[in-house]
Each structure stands twice: as structure tokens, then as C-alpha cells.
């Protein structure tokens, strides 16, 4: 009887905490990760809400105002056709981030699916892991370039000039970047399968489908989240690399990589023009990488305890 009030006071002193509060506390203590997350939020807001405030049409050509330096009317100046650079940066950011997020989503779904299937069903393991190894041995950048070059025109006629390229780029980045996620998820699933709660769940007759969705997936969420953040970074870099090689979006449809590529033609006359898109790509990727770094520490219970 004497124990009861003791427990009560302890509960008052320490309110019940769930796992995500602990994760958030650890994440908050990583200064770089916090800065990265804040910066990424700012970029997202600027890119998706900014055009509501800065209402110049990024495709509006004002040939008399071409090649201007920074001014009040055009804070980032104008390009060789008199289009406002700030508006183009915002529009380009929308495309770059949209490509990064969707491609990451696709690769995550693929990677998780293959990882869980390979880890959970022993019969599929060998075949799926051979497939993963095969994809890891493919020369990805050359193959990406080849696929985009060859299938560009067909998809363009099917989905329209911008939609076709968007679908193609998201698809190729997605199907060439799922392998790391699949490997990590498989390893975690294999370890989870040996634990008692899985045995308990199985002993009461849980079917495989519910087993995976209720017991396995929530427990492999943390590696998936970490590879999600790193996936955004690599997808953004790949998209801008493709655009930079002239094999991405068409030039009247700005993305950060495309803007950088177009600006290199005027490197001698207007060197400052390459800085903005390059800086945008680099800072976004840097912030996402820092975020992933912090998330990895925060989601790792071994580190979190310290």
C-alpha cells in the first residue's frame, strides 16, 4: 500500500514520454541537424509560397531589360532574354524539390518493399538480393543518361513536354536508387524476425500481411526515415547533374540544374549568374544531409541514451 503514492508522485514528476519525444530531444541537441531542418523548411516555404508574393511570371520575356544586374525590380537580375532570375529560381526550385521528393518516395517504396519481402520471405531472399546486387553493379550515371536520351521523345509525346520529362526523370532516379534502402531494411527485418514479439504474434495466428504492416514496418521506420532524407539529397543532385549535362528538362522550363547549365554559357560576362542556382542546390543538399545526420543519431537508441 505504501508504494501507491510513491508511484503517483513519480508520475507527476516525469510525465509519460513516448519514443518520438526522446527522438525529438536528441535531434534538438544536434545543432547542425536543427539548423539544417530549419533551413530546409525555409527553402520549402520560399519555393512553394514565394511565388504568391513575388508574382513575376518566370517565363515572361522582357527583352529590353535583359542581362541586368541586381536592382529593386529584379533582386537577382535578369537573364539573356530579360526573364526575372528570382522568379526563375523559385520556379526552378519547385521542380527540383518536387523531383527530389517524388523520386525519393518512389525509391523508398521500392526499397522498403524489396527489403521487407527479401527479409521476411526466405524463399524470395536469394532472388531479390541477387537483383539488388545486379542493380548495384550497373553503371548508373551512364545508364541514366542513355535511358533519358532514348526515351525522352516517346514520353514527351505521351505526357507533354514537361510532364513527360518529369515522369521519366523521377522514374529513372527512383528505380536506380532503391538498393541501399532495400539492403538496410532487409538486414533489420532479418533481425526483427528472431525476436519474441514476432514469435508471439505468429503463435496467435497473425497472417503475414498483418504481421508486416503491424509489427515489422513500424519497427524498421527509423532506417527508412534516414535513407529518406539522404535520398532527397541524392535525387536533387542527380536531377541537377542530368539537367547540367543538357539531358534534363527543356530550357524554357527552369530547374536549378538547368539554370546553372544555361548560365555557364555566360560565364565570362556574367559570372555571378551561376552562383545563385549553384548555391541553392548546394545549401539544400547540405541542409538535408545535416538533417539526415542528426536523424540517424536521434533514431539510434544506442546513441540516444547518452
Amino acid at each position: 500500500m505504501t508504494d501507491a503514492p510513491m508511484i503517483e508522485t513519480m508520475e507527476i514528476a516525469r510525465p509519460p514520454r513516448n519514443q518520438w519525444l526522446d527522438v525529438w530531444d536528441q535531434f534538438r541537441s544536434h545543432r547542425g541537424a536543427l539548423l539544417g531542418a530549419a533551413f530546409f523548411a525555409v527553402i520549402l516555404a520560399a519555393v512553394f509560397l514565394g511565388p504568391l508574393i513575388w508574382q513575376i511570371d518566370p517565363t515572361y520575356i522582357d527583352i529590353r531589360a535583359r542581362n541586368q544586374g541586381p536592382s529593386l525590380a529584379h533582386p537577382f537580375g535578369t537573364d539573356q532574354l530579360g526573364r526575372d532570375t528570382l522568379a526563375r529560381m523559385l520556379a526552378g526550385g519547385q521542380v527540383s524539390l518536387a523531383v527530389g521528393l517524388t523520386a525519393m518516395g518512389l525509391s523508398l517504396v521500392l526499397g522498403t518493399l524489396i527489403g521487407v519481402l527479401a527479409g521476411y520471405f526466405r524463399r524470395l531472399d536469394g532472388a531479390l538480393m541477387r537483383l539488388t546486387d545486379l542493380f548495384l553493379a550497373l553503371p548508373l550515371l551512364p545508364l541514366l543518361l542513355v535511358i533519358i536520351m532514348l526515351f525522352r521523345d516517346a514520353l514527351r509525346s505521351a505526357f507533354g513536354p514537361e510532364g513527360g520529362i518529369f515522369v521519366l526523370i523521377v522514374f529513372v532516379i527512383g528505380i536506380t536508387s532503391w538498393m541501399q534502402t532495400a539492403r538496410i531494411v532487409r538486414g533489420d527485418v532479418l533481425a526483427l524476425k528472431e525476436q519474441e514479439f514476432v514469435l508471439a504474434a505468429r503463435s496467435i495466428g497473425t497472417p503475414s500481411r498483418r504481421m508486416i504492416t503491424r509489427h515489422i514496418l513500424p519497427n524498421v521506420l527509423s532506417p527508412i526515415m534516414v535513407s529518406a532524407t539522404l535520398g532527397i539529397a541524392s535525387a536533387i543532385i542527380t536531377e541537377s547533374a542530368l539537367s547540367f549535362l543538357g539531358l534534363g528538362f527543356p530550357s524554357d522550363f527552369p530547374t536549378w540544374g538547368r539554370l546553372l547549365f544555361d548560365s555557364t554559357d555566360y560565364l565570362q560576362q556574367y559570372p555571378e549568374r551561376v552562383i545563385w542556382p549553384g548555391l541553392a542546390i548546394s545549401l539544400t543538399v547540405l541542409s538535408v544531409n545535416y538533417m539526415g545526420d542528426g536523424l540517424r543519431d536521434a533514431l539510434d537508441p544506442r546513441i540516444r541514451g547518452r
Binding site: A137, L138, P142, L145, L150, A154, I237, L245, T264, D293
Partner: protein, 336 residues
């Protein structure tokens, strides 16, 4: 170990065959026409003849097998002939010809390989040489200001894409300061000290860009590997025996830490070749990467197939080398 190597080599063969099939199918099944870039004034029956002459009317499987035979049998024989003046290859053994230049693809690659090897190879060596001391020092003084700066720089190094660092270096050192040329001049022959100096000058920027990128990744691995080893019992034992700190760190810890790092370095070689595609484009180095870009833009199917497959061979080969090295360096790992 020897049987393991043999087994890995045998496993590599089907992998390479499947990869070659994938590359072949991607390029062949694509809805693009190699005669599309020809003038529209060519009548359609001539166009059909040209397609037939290019062998495009055969079934896909036949074309794949023919390509395999060309790639694995005819090309090596011709290469041997050229290298040693033999005549192993018969008259009917056709070489893989580029559709753009009508010359053998192998010759094109041989012409362009030195530039790529010089730039990429130097940058990788420089990157490793920078990364190792930085990794060792930042692990030894973990969380010191040196470690913090090193972490930040390496984070920046692999976050900033090479096409931006390259362009940035051009803006600073070519446009503003005018120290280095922004375009790599392949016709330059190194004959005396002044041309050697020119060669150095034009190599500095591309090498710096790639070296920074590689050093960023390798120094992270070096640091993590050193940290793993520095807390081990044998380190304490070595110190307890009265060995100097220098011997403990540089002889005992470093040698053990190098095992995973060496494999990472080996695994990184093929990706460096891939990444060099972008750097070659930035600095206009006419290496293999640029050849690939030109061939892709011109719809030059044989060149694209051959180059992509060579990249795949590099990846498989260096995976194999990494695995074998791991077994050789670490006596605890026995594959048999």
C-alpha cells in the same frame, strides 16, 4: 583464398552477361531511330537499306549474340594484333564501329583514355593522400576544433555537386584572377619545362574538384575506422607496454584501420570514373566521359553500348578486387 578468387571470378561472368543484356536491351528497345538524324531528303527505300546494312533487321537475340561475339572475341583479337603486330584476327572479323566516326570504338576509347586517366587518376590519388591524414588526425583528436572543421568541410565536400565547385573555381581562378585556363587543352605535348608547367596549370582545377569530392568521403571512412580501433583493448595493451604514442597510433591502430578503408578506396574507383563524366564536361576535357555524352547525343549505339559496358566491367572488377583485398589484408577473414 585462391579458390575464393577463382569462385568470385566465375560468379562475375554471369553477372556481366546479365548486365550486358540489360544494357543491350535498353539501348536496342528504345523507340529512337539511328537514321533519324540523317537528312530528310534521303528516300525511304535508301533509309531501309541503311538500316539493313547496320544490321537492325535481325532478331534481337541474334543481334545480342553477334554483339557479344564482337565484344569478347573479335575486339580482343584485334587489340592483340595492334599491340604486338600479330595477325590473329581474320578478315571477316568485323570490329565494333562507331556510327558517328566510322572508326573502331576501341580506337576512340584508346585515344581518349589517357586524358581521363591523367585527370581522374591524379585526382583520386591526391584525394586519398589528403583524406588519410585528415581522417587520422580528426579521429585522434575527436571533437577538437580540427575535427569539427574537418567534419564540416567533408560535409560540404560531398554536398556541393562537382559541377558547381568546378564552375565556381572557373569563375574565381579563370575569370577573375586569370591564373588557370578554364578549358583543358589535349593537344598540349609535354616536351620541356614550360609545357610541363602549362600541363600542371590546366590540370589543377579539375583535379582539385574531384580530389575534394573524393577526399570528403574517404576521410569520413578513415575517421570512423580509426575511432573503432582506438578504443580497442590491444591499443591499451600497446600503451601499457610503454610504446610511444607515435608507434601505437601509426603502426598498430593505423594498420588495422586501413583494412576497411582500402576496400572503400577500391570500391570508389569505378564511381570516380562515372563522376568524372560531369567534371570532364565542365572543364571540356575530351576523355571517355565526354565521348559518352557525344555518343549519346548523336544516337551512336555501338559506342554507347561499349562505353556503358566498360563502366560495368570496372564496377564488377573493383568489387572483386575489394573483396579479395579484404581477405588478404585481414587474416581473421577466411572465405573458404
Amino acid at each position: 583464398m585462391f579458390t575464393y578468387t577463382i569462385r568470385r571470378l566465375l560468379i562475375a561472368i554471369p553477372t556481366l552477361l546479365v548486365i550486358s543484356l540489360i544494357i543491350f536491351l535498353v539501348v536496342t528497345l528504345a523507340p529512337s531511330d539511328p537514321t533519324a538524324n540523317l537528312p530528310l531528303s534521303i528516300p525511304s527505300e535508301v533509309r531501309a537499306q541503311m538500316r539493313e546494312a547496320l544490321g537492325l533487321n535481325e532478331p534481337i537475340l541474334v543481334r545480342y549474340l553477334l554483339w557479344l561475339r564482337q565484344f569478347f572475341l573479335y575486339e580482343p583479337l584485334h587489340m592483340l594484333d595492334q599491340a604486338f603486330g600479330l595477325s590473329l584476327a581474320g578478315e571477316d572479323m568485323q570490329r565494333i564501329l562507331s556510327w558517328q566516326t566510322r572508326s573502331p570504338v576501341a580506337d576512340l576509347i584508346v585515344q581518349r583514355l589517357p586524358q581521363t586517366l591523367w585527370v581522374v587518376g591524379t585526382s583520386y590519388v591526391v584525394g586519398v593522400l589528403i583524406a588519410l591524414p585528415i581522417g587520422i588526425a580528426s579521429a585522434y583528436r575527436q571533437y577538437s576544433w580540427f575535427d569539427q572543421i574537418g567534419t564540416f568541410v567533408s560535409m560540404v565536400g560531398f554536398s556541393v555537386p562537382t559541377f558547381f565547385t568546378g564552375v565556381l573555381l572557373i569563375v574565381i581562378f579563370s575569370v577573375h584572377l586569370g591564373w588557370f585556363p578554364s578549358i583543358y587543352d589535349t593537344t598540349l605535348r609535354v616536351t620541356d619545362l614550360s609545357t610541363f608547367w602549362l600541363q600542371i596549370k590546366q590540370m589543377i582545377m579539375p583535379v582539385a574538384v574531384l580530389a575534394l569530392y573524393n577526399a570528403a568521403q574517404i576521410s569520413r571512412f578513415m575517421r570512423a575506422s580509426m575511432l573503432d580501433n582506438l578504443n580497442q583493448d590491444y591499443v591499451r595493451t600497446a600503451r601499457a607496454k610503454g610504446m610511444t604514442e607515435r608507434v601505437v597510433v601509426l603502426l598498430h591502430v593505423l594498420r588495422n584501420s586501413m583494412i576497411p578503408v582500402v576496400t572503400v578506396i577500391a570500391l570508389g574507383v569505378p564511381t570516380v570514373f562515372g563522376g568524372a563524366i560531369i567534371t570532364e564536361q565542365v572543364f571540356k576535357v575530351n576523355g571517355i566521359g565526354q565521348l559518352l555524352i557525344i555518343a549519346i547525343q548523336g544516337g551512336d549505339v555501338p559506342t554507347v553500348q561499349t562505353l556503358t559496358f566498360i563502366f560495368a566491367v570496372l564496377i564488377v572488377l573493383f568489387n572483386l578486387i575489394a573483396d579479395v583485398l579484404y581477405g588478404l589484408l585481414d587474416p581473421r577473414i577466411r572465405y573458404d
